[in-house]
Structure formats: C-alpha cells, structure tokens
C-alpha cells in the first residue's frame, strides 16, 4: 500500500456527505462544475442520518419562526414533486390532548394561514377514525400536508446523480489539514482513519458542509465557527403505529412527533446540548422520557415493542442563537434556519461554511452554497435543482422498506436466498450493492451494506443477518483472513448503541439470545485482540 498521497484536482471540494453536501455536489455538477465530495465516515453519518425523516409542512414552526415555516412549505412541495420516490406523502395531523395549552390551539389556524400552510380542522372523533392509535383524550386536531422522506435514499440518489456527471465521492476520507497560502486553501489533505491512506485534493473552492463538525473543520483553516450542539434522540417501533405524521399541537418540545418510516414509526425527539458532536448516543433517561411524552398522544407507545433508539446532533449556529432567543431548554429556542458563511470576510477567500438548517430545506441550502461557489468561480450557469427531477438510482433504492421482499418474491430464484430475514434482503441485493459501492472506500463492508439497505434494521438488529451476510461476503471473496470477526463486532457494536437503551421485555430476550450466540458459542468477546487483516 503506497504511503504517497494520491492527488486529485478539481474545481470544488465539498467536505461532508450529509444531505447538504450531497445536494451541493448535485447542484454544482448540474451547473457543469467539477467537484469532489469527501466524507469522514460514510453517507449521512451525522444529523442527516439521525433525524425523523420528516418532510415538514412548516406548521411546526408557525409560532417560532415564520420564515422557516414558509421555507419548509415551499421546499416540501418541491421535493414531493421532484423526488417522489423518496417521499411518503402520508399527510400529517397536529393534535392536542387534555391539559395542552388551549391558547396555542386557538391561535394555530391563524398562524398557519399567515404562512400559507393549509391546516384543516378535524373533529377529534374523525381524527381517531383516521388514526385509531390516537389518545381518547384528544381535544383538537388539524390536518396538514406533512410527509415523510427517506434521508438515506435522498443523499444516495443525489450522490449517484452527481457521480454520473463526474463528481468523485470519497468515503472514509476525513479532512485532516488545509494548506493555506496567501489567504487561499491551496490543498486539502484527506485521511482514512481505518487504513491510514492519504489523499490530497487541490480545489479552487472549498465548501465546509460537515454539519455539526463544521466548527472543527473551520478550525483547520484557523477560523472560528460558533456552533451549539443539540442532541436529539429518537425511537423506532417494530410496527407502523400510524399512517400519518402525528405532531403534538403545542409549543415545540420533546417527543411530540411520530413519523411513519415505511414499515415502522419513529418517535422523537429530545434536545440536549452536548459539548462534542461525537457524543450522540441515545441514553436511557431520554428513551424513558420520550415514551412517557409520546404515550400521552398515542397511548400504545407505552406498551409497543421498540426496535432501537438513535440520536443525531443538530448543529445550531450560535450567531442565530444569540439573535433569536434565550436558550433555556437545550437549544430548542435557537432558530432552525441555516447559515452560509463566506470566509472571504475572515481572510480565506476560497472557503465557505454552510451549517444548520433542516432536512426539508436541504435543497435550498445547497442552492445558496452553490450560488456562492459559482459566483467565486465565475460560473454563470443558473441553479437547476428547482426544476430537474431527482432520478432514482440503484445504490439508493434498497433503503426503502418493503422493496427488497417484493423484489425477492417476484424473482423466485432458488439461488437468491434471504440473508437478512427480518427485512428480507437477499443475496442478489447484497451483490448488487457490493457492485455499486464506492471504489475508494475501505471501511467495514457490513456497516456500508447496512447503510445502503435494510440489513440489520429489523427486530434481530443484526443478530442473525450479520453472520449470514458475513459468510456470504467470504463466499464472494469480499473478505479475507479473520477480518470477518471484526466486521461482525463492529456491526453489532454499532447496533448496540441503539439497542442498549431499550433492553427490557422482548428486546431483552432477543439480546440475551444473541449474546448466547455471539459470545456463548462464537466467543466473539474474546477476539478483540485480533487485528484486521485484509478486507474488501
């Protein structure tokens, strides 16, 4: 393995393959700008992967931030039109239960109207007909055009589309150092934490789209970006509890949104200020708090089986924070708008940071960032993402729940055995993904497959499928030596972050069964001393 860094020249380097970075990459390539997208781990590793997957109608922000509410309304409608395959246009309800602030309930329709958001009043009984899981203590309900969106499919499809126009995507490529000369970043050193491999990128423009890590990346250029880190924890149920998005009709606070995610529901979230963006483990007190709050709105949440918890760290831009409000509850008071910082003002002419914002408005953020880059590059081409539909791509499609089982049933190929039984992902899908995964990556294959499919997302949380997929990877000669042990350990370790806070009842039985398998029989806990050899 050569130690001499590989060298790539390009017009623009985008740091961070969250949904914003992916969006910028597509926007730029559509305008004919060449670019490289560098990601420290893998697609959507930060807040883009750690959220509800809610496509806001804007109604949630009508009281706190009219501008954000209006942006959400416009961008939500655009996304439903341009990327319908990523969106489940389920509609949403805002519901209030006994004891909720009745003044807020009364003001809600007018506030929605002010932002141009349709909100139709429903009798509580009618709302319960639509969503039988709703509490019997409902006092008000409004129907709004909320929807859910698959953030992984969104990012993967943006990246794939950009890739077809020549964009280069580098996973496991952490921005480790900038070489700054005369107020310009002349080159960027990317570092693979797994293999130690280095890549040097020489770019005319550098965009820092690393979300919660934006401050850390900016500091590499000697700049200061003032961010507040707000951790949000969410819970995944085993079943789809409700068809529609269900929001609590009150001033935005914890655990007041239940979003359908294909075959499951996602309940959240919390807002806890943390010191470090890496600190995004869901905790037991958060989980218990979410269940308690959620159950007031949808009582079955108290007893249903949960599959796992997960968390994301929202980057909230400090300048907006101070401008907006007092921060008494972990940053929720801070505006959810985004910030685009042109660091030319700070003395680095070809460097910009974009951070904050919401999943719903990712396209708008990408457009603004790309506008700035193009202006600096002297490219006159206009933004096309407002009109050009986002094509569906093989690399992204397998994140959709239910697609894998239906494809498998339709193929009826005796050789196409299911490797992941919970979500019914077959060998064929795994092979297809192996072929479509980026060449430049060297990270754990199981984790990458998990990110791009439903593998490990079902009730077994990797207990069985990790073994079956790993065996298959050996058969396909994608793994060598004893690398499989570390693959399984890393994959299960990752799932454990989400599973450990919900271990009571059935999930605890499942966990005990799996420990008996992985530790009792395989002795995987005793193999941590082995080093990784070989690999995909």
């Amino acid at each position: 393995m050569s130690r001499k860094p590989k060298r790539i020249e390009t017009q623009a380097l985008i740091i961070g393959a969250g949904v914003t970075g992916a969006g910028i990459a597509r926007d730029l390539t559509l305008r004919g700008v060449s670019c490289v997208l560098a990601e420290k781990r893998d697609v959507n590793a930060g807040a883009s992967g750690g959220n509800h997957g809610l496509l806001h109608s804007g109604a949630r922000y009508v009281a706190s931030d009219m501008e954000a509410a209006t942006e959400c309304r416009e961008e939500g409608a655009l996304l439903k039109r341009l990327a319908p395959h990523c969106v489940d246009d389920a509609g949403g309800l805002f519901v209030a239960v006994e004891g909720d602030d009745e003044r807020y309930v009364a003001d809600f329709p007018a506030m929605c109207a002010r932002c141009g958001i349709e909100a139709a009043a429903l009798e509580p009984a009618r709302a319960r007909e639509l969503e039988p899981a709703l509490s019997g203590r409902l006092i008000a309900a409004y129907k709004v055009p909320d929807a859910s969106v698959d953030p992984f499919m969104l990012s993967l499809d943006n990246i794939a589309d950009a890739g077809e126009r020549g964009m280069v995507f580098l996973a496991n490529a952490r921005a480790a150092a900038f070489t700054v000369k005369d107020g310009r970043i002349v080159s960027t050193l990317l570092f693979d934490d797994e293999t130690g491999e280095e890549t040097e990128v020489v770019a005319d423009q550098v965009i820092n789209a690393s979300g919660a890590w934006a401050g850390i990346v900016a500091r590499l250029a000697g700049l200061d970006v003032d961010l507040v880190y707000s951790k949000g924890t969410l819970l995944v149920t085993q079943d789809r509890i409700a068809d529609m998005v269900i929001n609590r009709l009150r001033k935005a606070t914890d655990a007041d949104i239940l979003v359908p995610g294909g075959t499951v529901s996602i309940l959240g979230t919390t807002s806890v200020t943390v010191e470090d963006p890496e600190d995004c483990r869901p905790t037991i007190p958060e989980v218990d708090h979410i269940i308690e709050e959620g159950a007031a709105m949808v009582p079955v949440l108290e007893t249903t089986r949960y599959i796992r918890a997960y968390a994301g760290v929202r980057p909230l831009f400090g300048k907006l924070a101070s401008a907006s409000s007092q921060d008494e509850d972990g940053g929720r008071g801070i505006g959810r708008g985004f910030a685009l910082l042109d660091h030319a003002r700070d003395g680095v002419v070809n460097f910009a940071t974009i951070t904050g914002g919401k999943l719903t408005t990712y396209r708008l953020m990408a457009e603004k960032a790309a506008d700035l880059v193009c202006e600096k590059l002297g490219v006159a081409a206009p933004c096309l993402t407002r009109e050009t539909p986002l094509p569906s791509h093989a690399g992204g499609k397998w994140t959709e729940p239910g697609l894998a089982p239906r494809t498998w049933l339709a193929r009826r190929d005796p050789k196409d055995a299911l490797l992941c039984e919970c979500e019914m992902v077959s060998k064929g899908v795994v092979d297809e993904l192996l072929a479509s995964m980026p060449r430049h990556k060297s990270g754990p294959a199981l984790l990458s497959l998990g990110l791009r499919s439903r593998i490990g997302k079902g009730p077994c949380q990797g207990g069985f499928c990790s073994l079956r997929v790993c065996a298959h990877l050996y058969d396909r000669q994608a793994l060598y030596g004893d690398a499989g042990i570390e693959e399984i350990r890393a994959f299960l370790g990752g799932r454990w972050r989400g599973v450990s806070p919900i271990l009571w009842g059935f999930p605890l039985m499942q966990a005990e069964f799996q420990e008996a398998l992985h530790c009792g029989l395989m002795g995987l806990e005793l193999h941590n001393h082995k080093s990784r050899k070989g690999g995909a």
Binding site: R281, T283, I284, P285, D288, P414, K415, A417, L418, L419, F464, L467, R468, C470, A471, H472, Y474, D475, Q477, L479, Y480, G481, D482, G484, I485, I488, R489, L492, G493, W496, S500, L503, W504, G505, L508, M509, E512, F513, E515, A516, L517, C519, G520, L521, M522, G523, L524, E525, L526, H527, N528, K533
Partner: protein, 423 residues
C-alpha cells in the same frame, strides 16, 4: 376436556438443560417426577457441554483445567452457584448425564479434568468440556493442525467453509474448503431437512460420492452439523466408513439439528424412565397445602388441571427462557414472584459496549439461594422449605461469558435432587 390431575414427588419447572437434567437425576433416584415447560431453549443448544473456561471474564483469561477455573472463580466470587456443589458431585452429574445421552444414541467424548477446543461456524475456536462424539475429531484435528477439508453446501445460509478456513488460516494453513450441492436439494436449505435426508442410505452415498474427489491429503473431513437427526450415531459411522477418513461436525447457527437431537433424546429417554411429561403446559399458579406440598395450577392459558408435588425445582431459565421477566425498571421472577438480586435501575443493566470484557451486570442477576439451593424470600430465609432452583436462573454467574452454562445446570440440578432425595 378431561382433566388429568397429577400427583408426584417433584415437579420440575422448565424444559431447558437444567430442567431435563433435574428430571433425569430425580427419576434415577426413584422419585415420581413430573416436568412442565416449553422446550424452547433446548432447540437452540449447540449440544456441547461447557463446564468453566473463562475467569475472570474482565481479563478474558482462558483455562485449560475447568476445576481450577471453578476454584479461581469461587475464590473471587463466592456467590457463584458452583460454590454450593462439591467437585465430586459435578463429576458425578456429568457422568450420569452423558451416560444417559449415550444410551439415547448420543454419545459424548472429552478429557477428564481438561477443557477441549472445537471450531465454530464463524471460524473462531470455542473452549468447552464435553462434546458429542460427532464433534470429537474436531478437537483432535485442531490440536494436530492436521490437513483438513471443510465441506459446506450451496444454499445453507450462515455457514461458509471458506470463512472458517480464512479465519483460521494464520494458525492452521492445512484447512481447505469445498462447496457442494446437497444431494436432491436446491434453494434455501434447512438443516433439519438435510439431517432427515441423510438418514437415508442413498443420500449418504450420493454425498460421499460428491465429497470423495476433494479429500486429497485431508486427514479429516468436516461438515456442518447435519449428519442425522434421530439416529446421528448411525449416520455418522456410515459417513465415516463411506469416506474412509475421520469426520467431524461443526455446529451451525441456531436453531440447529444439535438442539433437536438433544430434545428428541430427552423426550424419548425420559419418557422411558417414567417421566410424567407436561411439556407445552405452564405453571399458572401455586398454593401450599397443609402438609407442605405444592398444589400447582397448570395450563396453557387457563387452568386445565392441577399438579400436587411434595417438592419443586425451579429451572425456568432467564429472560429468553421466561423464568425472569424484565419490566422497564425491574426484573421479576415469573412463577413464584421470588426476590431477584439485580443491579438497580436499567442504566446499570448493560455496558456501553456490547462486547465489553466485564460482561453485562444484568447477566449476573438472578435468584439467590441458601447452601442447599433453596431460593431465599425477602426475609433472607428459604421462601419454601421444599422449593429448589437450578440452572441459569441462579444469581452470581454469567454463564455466557464464563462458559459455564451446562455445568451450572447439571451441577445445581444434581445437588438439588440429592437434597430432595435425602430429605
């Protein structure tokens, strides 16, 4: 439906390894024995019998002599159930248990006072005490690092011979692998169907025919554990004869044939010894009669009949076995509501890392007993004079990490039955 009320000396509650062992020992002592419970966990057994291999688990220290490991563990952790059973009783329990299984057509092998190592389906090695004869040559082959051929089958998921060979490559270069079509089957293979098929002579011959060209210099040929279901001994011997080299089995992912073999051996063998089997029935409630005996209400959902028992052995297992029930903040014992020693609060149940060397504290939770294995009530005294506990429900052990599951089950079942028979 007709009620069939039962009366017995001892009711064994639970149908896992500890329950089966308790029934066996009780029957051999001449006690009138009844047994209830769902045979769930036996189905998942790899059928190797651990005694003790790792202590302290924090250090991951592996032991060759299991009895020395037990002594070391007790010295450090007197709460371990082994502290309540003498070494000679542990040895006697293993002897009686494997003797019974040999009679039922499932002979075991091992070395007295020594742990042995076998291969697992991910290619790691597992240290254990007694293995079914069909896995014994794995021990020899591994010790010799002999040239060896691992066979796997197209369509058998989660078992890759290539993976095992690759994982062991550095230490054991003589491992080779080959993938074959299982005679007469395509698509998704299920181990129990394969095992059943191999009970037929023509399938065995076809398989031997397919394997033979690949043997080459191999001193041993390894198969996933599919060599027979009801008559594994015969299938194994026949295959060995047909191939002309030593063969051994590697356990598969659960549920495997190994568990089914154990279940079949138990159910037939114990019935032959006069067990009143109440499998598929659960204890729904319990009352103490004037003479001190238990009157259990039994059924699947509602009471179907009663069992009057002079004594009872609680071998209902942990969470997966449903002997323990975990609510969001508290673990309860499911049948008698006995106090459960446990870490306080869910946050203390598990480590942040799944593979944390120290193990998860919840796995040491369980029932605390007196020296005679009688569960203690809230007042620190035996909850009932004639109730015993055996197996993984006992506190103070982490059977998964210490590799002491079977040993604990056999030893405590043996000691409990002895105490009942003596009383």
């Amino acid at each position: 439906m007709e009620r069939k009320d039962v009366s017995c000396d001892v009711l064994v509650i639970g149908a896992g390894l500890a329950g089966m062992a308790a029934s066996l020992f009780a029957l051999e002592k001449g006690l009138v024995t009844a047994q209830a419970g769902l045979p769930g966990e036996t189905l998942f057994a790899s059928s190797v019998l651990d005694l003790m291999a790792v202590t302290p688990i924090e250090e991951g220290r592996l032991w060759e002599d299991p009895f020395a490991a037990i002594a070391a563990e007790i010295a450090q952790n007197p709460a371990h159930p082994y502290a309540k059973v003498a070494r000679k009783d542990i040895e006697a329990a293993f002897g009686a248990f494997t003797g019974f299984l040999a009679q039922a057509g499932m002979p075991y092998a091992g070395r007295d006072g020594r742990n042995v190592e076998i291969l697992t389906p991910v290619g790691t090695s597992k240290r254990t005490y007694r293995v079914p004869e069909s896995m014994w040559k794995a021990v020899l082959a591994m010790e010799e690092k002999a040239p060896c051929l691992i066979v796997d089958f197209e369509g058998l998921k989660g078992f890759s011979a290539r993976q095992i060979a690759e994982t062991q490559k550095a230490d054991w270069p003589g491992l080779r692998f080959v993938r074959l079509d299982f005679p007469g089957m395509t698509g998704d293979l299920y181990v129990e169907k394969m095992a059943f098929a191999l009970e037929g002579e023509s399938v065995r011959q076809a398989l031997a025919e397919a394997v033979r060209p690949h043997i080459g210099d191999a001193a041993y040929v390894a198969f996933p554990a599919v060599l027979g279901h009801y008559r594994p001994g015969k299938v194994f011997a026949e295959m060995e004869r047909l191939l002309g080299v030593g063969i051994f089995e590697i356990p598969t992912m659960p549920p495997g044939v190994t568990g089914l073999r154990l279940k079949a051996a138990f159910e037939e063998g114990l019935a032959g010894k006069g067990l009143k089997s109440l499998f598929q029935k659960l204890v729904l409630g319990c009352r103490v009669e004037e003479d001190g005996s238990f009157l259990f209400s039994m059924g699947r959902n509602a009471e179907e009949f009663t069992v009057r028992a002079k004594a009872a052995i609680l071998a209902s297992g942990r969470f997966f076995g449903k002997g323990l029930k975990a609510e969001r903040e508290l673990v309860r014992e499911a049948v008698f509501g006995l106090p459960v020693e446990q870490p306080k609060g869910r946050a203390a149940w598990h480590q942040k890392d799944m593979f944390d060397q120290a193990g998860h504290p919840i796995n040491r939770a369980g029932i605390v007993t007196d020296a005679r294995l009688r569960p203690l009530g809230a007042d620190g005294l035996p909850a009932f004079p004639n109730l015993y506990a055996a197996g993984s429900i006992l506190a103070g052990q982490d059977w998964i990490r210490m590799k002491c599951g079977a040993g604990t089950a056999l030893a405590t079942a043996y000691a409990a039955v002895n105490d009942i028979a003596a009383g």
